[in-house]
């Protein structure tokens, strides 16, 4: 099995975030943190992405969007919820329009708490996601071997 941990491509989707976490996500790409040194690219195209980074809570409006983006991503894939809103709904949890965190729509693998989540925490979350990504790729390969 090839080592695929060196090339995690991100898809960043802003659910109903206040933009605080989104700014921190973009801060990861600036010269100070330079996430590209791990091979991370912010693709914007679900069909080319490996890691789904979601910020903000889920509501009726964005539920189908989040689901569709997740389904468009090719296997293996990992979901990272960034910020407390994407984890649980955060301070907006009890609002009439918020259904909850990202995990009410899609299976979330890594939770990065914080309001807003710090760039270091986000990069740490992505690094954890990358390990899971490799694990999943190996698992799916084994399954293919069994069937074949």
């Amino acid at each position: 099995m090839a080592n695929i941990t060196r090339s995690p491509w991100l898809l960043h989707y802003d659910g109903s975030s206040c933009n605080g976490c989104d700014i921190e996500v973009l801060a990861c790409l600036t010269p100070v943190y330079d996430a590209e040194r791990f091979g991370i690219i912010n693709t914007g195209d679900p069909m080319q992405a490996d890691i789904f980074l979601i910020t903000g809570g889920v509501n009726e409006q964005n539920m189908p969007v989040v689901k569709q983006l997740y389904e468009q991503m090719p296997e293996p894939k990992v979901v990272v919820a960034v910020g407390v809103c994407a984890c649980t709904g955060g301070v907006f949890k009890d609002c009439y329009n918020i259904i909850g965190g990202a995990d009410v729509a899609i299976p979330v693998d890594i939770y990065v708490p914080g309001c807003a989540a710090r760039p270091q925490a986000i990069i740490d979350g992505i690094v954890k996601a990358v390990a899971l990504f490799q694990e999943r790729a190996q698992k799916s390969e084994k399954e293919v071997d069994k069937v074949g």
Binding site: A2, S7, D34, R37, E75
Partner: protein, 288 residues
């Protein structure tokens, strides 16, 4: 004749490695220019290996076949070039491969990739005159379209073709998908078309597209080298230096320019082509 066959085989085997390495150097240089650490030089290879291990999502049945055709024709272009065939033929095959890429992008029906495909056609309109004029220039300078005859001439072609060289390096920015003219694929920082004509490619298809780009870049830098190389062995070193300097210039242009609209791209490219290559053609015709 034997050397040309060896060169063609070398291209077939080594071009993806050289192309990938060049892209790695490109990304490292770009990162340094932006005061970042940047990814490792081998990053493009990691990316392609990963893409081959991903699930291949095909939006439309014929898409994969079209991308494979694009890949095969692109490789054929370079093989013909390094085997010393007719230069005109090489460029015709290259244009055909670009057309298949356009079909692969448009067949999906996705608005982003369709607009990307249309912009790819516009880019072809912009660069084709300079490419065809370069062929004419080589013929006027050396009396032959054969790459092998041009490469083994007694004097470098650039002596007669400085204008054509400028025009060709100018359109190289379009062909290598560099910033001011990167309208069709819209690489990472821009994304106004998501990923332009590659939006609907994923997994193996995207990997194949990437490898074709590497083959293409090596071929194009080979054409740049053709301007410099002559029958003397020393010229090989000079050629390599000029090719690398051209590559560096492209990276510099990429990092120091914002994007242009396609109208501006078409206008500027044609003006540069007509002024430099056109004047050069007239002068050459008077001399001859």
């Amino acid at each position: 004749m034997k050397i040309s066959i060896i060169l063609a085989i070398c291209y077939l085997v080594l071009a993806p490695f050289i192309g990938g390495l060049l892209e790695g150097i490109d990304r490292k240089l770009s990162a340094r220019m932006q005061r970042r650490v940047g990814p490792p030089v081998l990053q493009p290879f990691y990316d392609v290996i990963k893409l081959f291990n991903k699930e291949n999502q095909v939006v439309y049945k014929s898409q994969s076949w079209l991308i494979v055709t694009y890949f095969v024709l692109m490789v054929l272009t370079g093989v013909m070039f390094f085997a010393g065939f007719d230069l005109l033929m090489c460029f015709f095959v290259m244009s055909t491969s670009a057309t298949f890429l356009y079909f692969a992008a448009c067949v999906t029906g996705s608005p982003y990739s369709t607009i990307g495909g249309h912009r790819e056609l516009l880019q072809m309109t912009a660069y084709e005159p300079a490419v065809l004029l370069a062929c004419v220039g080589f013929y006027l300078a050396t009396g032959s379209f054969d790459v092998i005859t041009i490469a083994t001439a007694n004097t470098s072609a650039i002596k007669y073709l400085p204008g054509f060289f400028i025009a060709f390096v100018f359109i190289l920015t379009i062909k290598m998908r560099k910033s001011p003219f990167d309208t069709s694929a819209s690489h990472h920082p821009h994304q106004e078309l998501v990923k332009g004509l590659t939006t609907e490619f994923s997994g193996k298809n995207l990997a194949l597209f990437q490898v074709s780009e590497w083959y293409e870049n090596v071929f194009l830098l080979g054409v740049v080298g053709l301007f410099i190389i002559n029958s003397k062995p020393v010229s090989i070193i000079v050629t390599l230096v000029v090719v690398f300097l051209t590559f560096f210039l492209e990276v510099l242009i990429d990092n120091s320019n914002g994007r242009m609209k396609w109208q501006q791209m078409l206008k500027i490219t044609w003006i540069v082509t007509i002024v430099t290559a056109g004047v050069n053609t007239v002068v050459l015709m008077f001399i001859n």
